[in-house]
Amino acid sequence: MSTTEKNAARKPATSLGVRLRPLLFIGVLLILWAIAARRQSTHLLPGPWEVVGGIAELVRHGLLLKYVVASLFRVTWGFLLAAALAIPLGLGIGWYRRAEMAFNPIIQILRPISPLAWIPIAILWFGVGDLAAIFLIFLGSFLPLLLTAINAAQSVPAVYVNAGRNFGMSPLRLVYQVFYPAVVPQLIVGLRITLGVAWLVVVAAEMIAVNSGLGFLIVDARNAGNRYDLVVAGMVIIGIIGLLLDMGMRSLEKVRSFRWSYSED
């Protein structure tokens, strides 16, 4: 970085050439992929064009929409349930030190357990189907959200609370006008990250426990005929939707009424 870097850094970054570069990079990768696919001896790995063809086929048969909706449906339910339970619980635990002391060991032991390890129990309780998948997503989302809420509650600066009490606020008002605005920014970031986790879990859960959805597509396409073009097509769709979910949540973070804690940026 040169000495004039500071001045040069103020050049507008929206010049067309600069924006084109990532696309060029992707293009190069795609070309490499196509070459590798053509040169392989086993003819299993599909090239980019075949994947596009696979996506088109899914669209034509109406399967793409059906599977995407199935996966999103499960994620939504599992995630929202987890949020509805974990956030109030977590905020409460974070607020009362003794509660955190009490529950911390249990949380720490449960945290490293992959939700997928619960699959036998999920199938035992819910059988193979939607509910099992939703249960797994719930499990995968619950602890991270709980931890986020605990953290958020503990991070509320004492000055805010003291100021509120100084002005004679009732506990209800304190929660509504001081506590809640203070924790919301952190909660939204946690929600975004956990949504990403939920998306990972749903795909994995569908590969094992259900009969529809994008994860199922991947497993089924391979088992019923080695349709790797559909397998990779499924992976690409998974990536794109995951990205869209993440971008959607990020735009929520930008909503003005939530932005105050980012003023340090």
Binding site: R97, R98, A117, G215, M235
Partner: protein, 260 residues
């Protein structure tokens, strides 16, 4: 009880024991009240755990899982840190590569299994590849963030003393970013542990994840299932603790002063 009063020392043991005890009791009585024949009670799990510990196979499974994590995680560290440092150091490079990473990142490592099987066949290598994938992206992202968060005073001081860019990277940027990189590594290790268990349920025939599935498939031994699940949790916790000790080394501790 004044919830703002400073908790006393005995309370540090009292509350967790109380909560855990209550939970175990709840579990125990739920099993009795619902008269389930399949779901194990805490006692059953305890016996199952003892059975597993005496079985020498368990230690083999633990060793296998840990080995896969070690190799996959090690590879992710070996490749991910240089890449992350480079991308953090050259924002232009990051801007080019980032979109690709953003698309690949939301794809669960488990979804890569069919592709992994093409390349590696069924077995260890496939599982290790999946672990590598799971750990790789968090490490790269942590490095990128670590480097870009290095306060510019440090870089300027380094240049002032006549350091060339490679020296600057090695002597100033890397040490300054190290706390954040370590946090990323710890998180990636946690992810690696999650992935290995999941990968073992599908793609291999040994390891703790396999133990979970196998206990159910060959005999509906749900007591072993739950015992294995708890073991997974404990070992994962031990790994996490071990890593946190690294964060206490003096030359890195400065970056963690605010960690709870």
């Amino acid at each position: 009880m004044n919830s703002l009063a400073e908790p006393r020392k005995w309370e540090k043991l009292f509350w967790p024991l109380l909560a855990t005890g209550l939970l175990l009791a709840l579990w125990h009585y739920s099993v009795i009240w619902t008269a389930t024949k399949i779901f194990p009670s805490p006692r059953d799990v305890e016996k199952g755990l003892a059975e597993l510990l005496l079985h020498h196979v368990l230690w083999g499974d633990i060793r296998d899982s840990l080995r896969r994590v070690a190799i996959g995680f090690g590879a992710a560290v070996f490749l991910g840190i240089p890449l992350g440092l480079t991308l953090g150091w050259y924002p232009a490079a990051n801007q080019v590569v980032n979109p690709v990473m953003q698309i690949l990142r939301p794809i669960s490592p488990i979804a890569w299994i069919p592709v992994a099987i093409i390349f590696f066949g069924i077995g260890d290598s496939a599982a290790i590849f999946l672990i590598f994938l799971g750990a790789f992206f968090p490490i790269v992202v942590a490095c990128i963030n670590g480097v870009s968060n290095v306060p510019s005073v440090y870089r300027r001081a380094g240049r002032n003393f006549g350091l060339t860019p490679p020296q600057l990277l090695a002597k100033v940027v890397f040490p300054a970013a190290l706390p954040q990189i370590l946090v990323g590594l710890r998180i990636a290790l946690g992810i690696a542990w999650l992935v290995v268990v999941a990968a073992e349920m599908i793609a291999v025939d040994s390891g703790l994840g396999y133990l979970v599935i196998d206990s159910r498939n060959s005999g509906k031994r749900y007591d072993l299932v739950v015992a294995a699940i708890l073991l997974i949790g404990v070992i994962g916790l031990v790994l996490d603790f071990g890593f946190r000790r690294l964060e206490k080394i003096r030359s890195v501790r400065w970056g963690f002063r605010n960690e709870s």
